[in-house]
């Protein structure tokens, strides 16, 4: 019996009914990774340990039987995994084997899930197309010559191709939601601080947040239940009670108020994408939702604000990759300065260098006030906009991305800003620290289109409830790519 395209819950019921053993499941999963090697979803495989763990589970050595026990997962290669190479898809970390695991990885593995490998991504999570990886492009399972989105492109493609039911991702400006949209799956960025950042290699610390990519909102809830929680090792993780997200997922959504952002002029989008958005709106109306126009007056500043703050933090976070302690060290340096320059020049790709340069510039004496400080002030205004919007609505609905997936090399090659605009709809929830989900809601030109729901602070429950009810009443999330090109 094939395990491809099965959800967590489906695999779980196969395991529980002993239709399949955990070892068989893992065996099949690795077979799929080999059959679909061309997708280039994975940077490093974890075959030995994964099979060993599956065997232990079959032998009943994992007493606490959670939803995830025995379930194969992909881990984005930005999460440190003890003893398993962690590259961030960069040359500079091509030989880095962490001595510890990220809290997210540890929690998921403690719940019995099995890490099958590390998924490909944009280098250090910087990119929206997965084209910046040192380990090559990930292909979109729906169309081989198209990007999967980024930065969590490998995670999204592995789920969309049905290799694993879920993967972890990280989202700094849309890096979970945009590839989820482009690959036709469900991906969620939680509230900033809901999931510990310990062991997740930092891109922009104040924006980075880990979350799940899966085949349904329900599976995202299962993943997030295990991933979230206060962590003493991360002072920015929230010390709050994390409620079971499955509990309210089936609640009726009659009367729910959904905001449509006045400032996002959807008429500029491709007419077919507009159409999908209107169709989904109608479906929600049918399910009892009420739509309200809301205003986020400063939202148009979110892209420039983001591209000041994120590079600034990145320029500092990436300083530790200097060739001194770990990672790539240039072989022929004359002195210390030369060692720094050569190791970093050789180790980092162009997009990472570009952002380090931007970040260094906006933090420099004389420019700090005009760029970084101003950006922080605007960020505050954007946050306030959302705060007042959520006084009147439960959720805000937007497209996830202005476009469907695009062809390799077609965007950003001449002008990187073109690619930065991919993040138009997703960036603001990172700036405001708010949770948001992308769910598939149809196809345009044989490529999936994503719908975004943004929620108030720590209201993942409302988002998942609305997304799940949508999925119970539609079949978009069940669409499967033919994969005939692979």
């Amino acid at each position: 019996m094939s395990i491809q395209f099965k959800s967590i819950l489906e695999l779980k019921s196969m395991l529980n009914s002993k239709t399949i053993s955990s070892s068989e499941l893992i065996e099949e999963t690795f077979k799929l990774t080999k059959d679909l090697k061309d997708l280039n979803c994975f940077v490093t495989m974890n075959e030995g340990s994964a099979k060993q763990k599956a065997k232990q589970i079959d032998q009943g050595k994992y007493k606490n039987n959670s939803y995830l026990t025995g379930i194969p997962l992909g881990q984005k290669d930005l999460f440190c995994t003890e003893g398993l190479r962690t590259t961030c898809s960069s040359k500079i970390l091509s030989n880095f084997i962490p001595p510890y695991s990220a809290t997210v990885v540890k929690k998921l593995e403690d719940s019995g899930s099995i890490t099958i490998g590390k998924t490909n991504m944009d280098e250090f999570a910087m990119g929206s197309s997965n084209e910046t990886s040192f380990y090559g492009n990930v292909h979109n399972p729906w169309k081989r010559s198209y990007v999967p989105g980024g930065s969590s492109g490998g995670s999204a493609a592995a789920v969309a191709a049905g290799i694993v039911p879920a993967s972890t991702g990280t989202d700094t400006g849309g890096s979970i939601r945009q590839p989820a949209a482009h690959c036709g799956i469900t991906g969620m960025k939680p509230t900033y601080g809901k999931v510990s950042r310990w062991g997740m290699v930092a891109f922009a610390s104040s924006l980075d947040q880990a979350g799940p990519l899966a085949r349904s909102a329900e599976d995202c809830a299962i993943m997030l239940n295990e991933m979230s929680g206060h962590d003493l090792k991360d002072t920015t993780s929230l010390d709050v009670e994390h409620t079971d997200l499955l509990r309210s997922i089936n609640n009726p959504i009659k009367g729910i108020k959904i905001g449509i952002v006045k400032e996002f002029n959807l008429n500029d989008l491709d007419s077919k994408i507009q159409e999908k958005f209107q169709d989904s709106k109608k479906l929600y109306e049918k399910l009892g939702a009420k739509f309200i126009k809301i205003s986020l007056p400063n939202i148009s500043a979110s892209v420039p604000t983001y591209y000041s703050i994120a590079p600034a933090e990145c320029s500092s976070n990436l300083s530790r990759f200097d060739g001194v302690k770990f990672g790539h060290r240039s072989r022929d340096s004359k002195d210390l300065n030369d060692l720094y320059i050569k190791s970093r020049s050789e180790g980092f790709g162009d997009e990472v260098k570009r952002r380090i340069l931007i970040g260094t510039y906006v933090l420099s004496a004389g420019y700090y006030d005009a760029y970084y400080k101003k950006a922080q002030q605007v960020r505050r205004l954007i946050k306030n906009d959302f705060e007042s919007a959520f006084q009147t609505v439960d959720l805000i609905m937007t497209p996830t991305s202005p476009n469907t997936a695009f062809e390799f090399g077609s965007k950003g090659a001449q002008n990187p800003v073109e690619l930065y605009l991919e993040d138009l709809f997703t960036i603001s929830s990172n700036l405001a620290g708010l949770p948001a989900i992308s769910i598939p809601h149809g196809m345009v030109n044989d490529l999936p289109v994503g719908l975004q729901l943004i929620g108030n602070f720590l209201r993942e429950d409302k988002i998942l409830n609305a997304a799940h009810v949508f999925q119970k009443n539609s079949e978009f999330h069940l669409a499967k790519p033919s994969l005939e090109d692979f």
Binding site: L93, A204, S205, K233, S316, S319, D322
Partner: protein, 476 residues
């Protein structure tokens, strides 16, 4: 031309917390390289800092002691620069919102007491150490020190001579050791300073161009480095040259300062708020608890010693000026009847031994038990003051108990009058010429006879008894 000197000092104090500022690694000094290091200290990808509140409490104690304002909300910033012993490529420090704001320190000068205002004091992490002379062709990094909490205390430019600078540093040293927030060990780098020095014509209000002398770690070097720098600047200006704003290094072997880097090549540190740490808030409850457990400061100790133990002002001043000496005094007190004698002994004989070896009493072999025993042996007449000195030197070297030393070496005082009388008679007999001279009026010779008695008894004769009996005998 008469010149005036303007000095401002930045002092780095290593706080004596058990663990580091942002990790749980130990701060113990002198361990094997890279053993007091965990994931956070070596800045591995993905690690995050977590806060050690003990360091905050210690910083607050300092702030309260100098009458400063305490910022109960602390925000951290990143100071970005590349250096191999700075594992993250940035130092976590405080820029806009230091934990301690304002306050002042009193120093003693020839002209009397002077107040030096403190601009601010902030918390930051120390860097590791680069070692350049251990491996041929390579530099090595020891990260044991990386992440140790530092309190950087910035003074206003109100210090006007090298001597005042030393007095200021001594005052800080006294404060941090009394507050028990640092071991103050300068040779291990627990207290070190950067001095900003400039000169201007007398009466001129505009400050001259300053140079910064980095990382000075002894009182002696502070004085020498600053004096060298003042003279260098005077020479430059009197030769119509200008001063370059730069960082200079003091070379203690050549006794000179030399240029490290000028301002044009100075780093742009690109400070920005540390996004990995939320603001650290000290509650009123925590603050009150610190206030409630405030240690006694030198001035209060001085008054108490004089009032309670009737110790002369001059002795009390010396005892209370050093934390280790005061601690030693207080631990010895309980078992000692004659508190005055204890004080006198500590300030006199013991202090001169300490000064000779340039160490603090807690670094010596002496223990309060041994010293209180020694004082009691003097008080009850078992030994003379002179023998006490002999015993002190022995216990100084070997840590042996005074009673043991006395027993082993037979040093008990001879107080038996009859025995002393016998000895005196013998001496007078052997020195009949001197006796004659004495009786003829050469009274200075009295000391000679005492000396002879002491010589014969190896100092064990009770001096009072010797005096009395000798006087009696010489009358005849």
């Amino acid at each position: 031309m008469t010149w005036e000197t303007v000095i401002g000092i930045e002092t780095h104090v290593q706080l004596s917390t058990k663990t580091k500022l942002f990790s749980r690694a130990s701060t113990t000094f002198g361990q094997n390289p890279n053993t007091n290091v965990n994931l956070i200290d070596c800045g591995l990808p993905g690690v995050l800092p977590s806060v050690n509140k003990e360091a905050f409490y210690k910083a607050i104690r300092f702030g309260l002691a100098i009458g400063a304002e305490i910022n109960q909300t602390s925000i951290f910033d990143r100071k970005n620069y590349f250096y191999p012993d700075l594992p993250k490529g940035y130092q976590i420090t405080q820029m806009d919102l230091p934990i301690v704001l304002g306050g002042s320190v009193e120093i003693k000068t020839k002209e009397g007491t002077k107040i030096i205002n403190v601009t601010r004091a902030h918390l930051e992490e120390d860097a590791g150490k680069s070692i350049h002379d251990k491996f041929d062709g390579y530099s090595a990094i020891d990260l044991n020190r990386a992440g140790t909490p530092l309190l950087e205390i910035v003074s206003e430019p109100e210090i006007s001579s090298a001597k005042e600078a030393v007095a200021y540093m001594k005052a800080l040293h006294q404060l941090v050791t009394f507050l028990d927030i640092s071991d103050g060990n300068m040779s291990q780098g627990s207290l070190r300073c950067d001095a900003n020095v400039s000169i201007k014509k007398k009466g001129e209000t505009k400050l001259g161009t300053r140079t910064e002398i980095k990382n000075i770690n002894s009182f002696k070097f502070i004085e020498k480095a600053i004096n060298f720098e003042i003279n260098r600047q005077i020479k430059e200006l009197e030769n119509a040259n200008s001063i370059t704003q730069e960082t200079r290094l003091y070379d203690s072997i050549k006794d000179e300062t030399r240029s490290m880097r000028s301002k044009e090549f100075a780093n742009d540190y690109r400070y920005f708020p540390e996004p990995d740490l939320l603001p650290v808030v000290i509650s009123d409850k925590e603050l009150n608890k610190i206030k409630g457990t405030f240690p006694e400061l030198p001035k209060e100790k001085l008054n108490r010693y004089v009032d309670e133990y009737k110790i002369p002002d001059s002795d009390a001043k010396i005892l209370s000026s050093s934390k280790s000496l005061a601690d030693f005094f207080e631990s010895s007190l309980e078992n000692v009847e004659d508190k005055g004698l204890l004080a006198k002994f500590l300030v006199g004989d013991i202090s001169s031994l300490l000064n000779k070896e340039l160490i603090e009493i807690n670094e010596s072999n002496l223990t309060p038990e041994n010293i209180s025993q020694l004082i009691n042996l003097i008080s009850d007449g078992t030994i003379s003051g002179k023998i006490a000195k002999v015993i002190l030197e022995k216990t100084w070297k070997t840590n042996a108990r005074p009673e043991e030393i006395i027993e082993k070496e037979g040093l008990t005082q001879i107080s038996d009058d009859k025995e002393i009388e016998k000895i005196i008679e013998q001496i007078l007999k052997e020195n009949s010429n001197q006796v004659e001279a004495y009786l003829a009026g050469k009274e200075k010779l009295f000391g000679f006879f005492v000396g002879q008695v002491m010589k014969l008894t190896q100092g064990k004769a009770n001096p009072k008894a010797v005096n009395n009996i000798l006087k009696e005998k010489l009358k005849k």
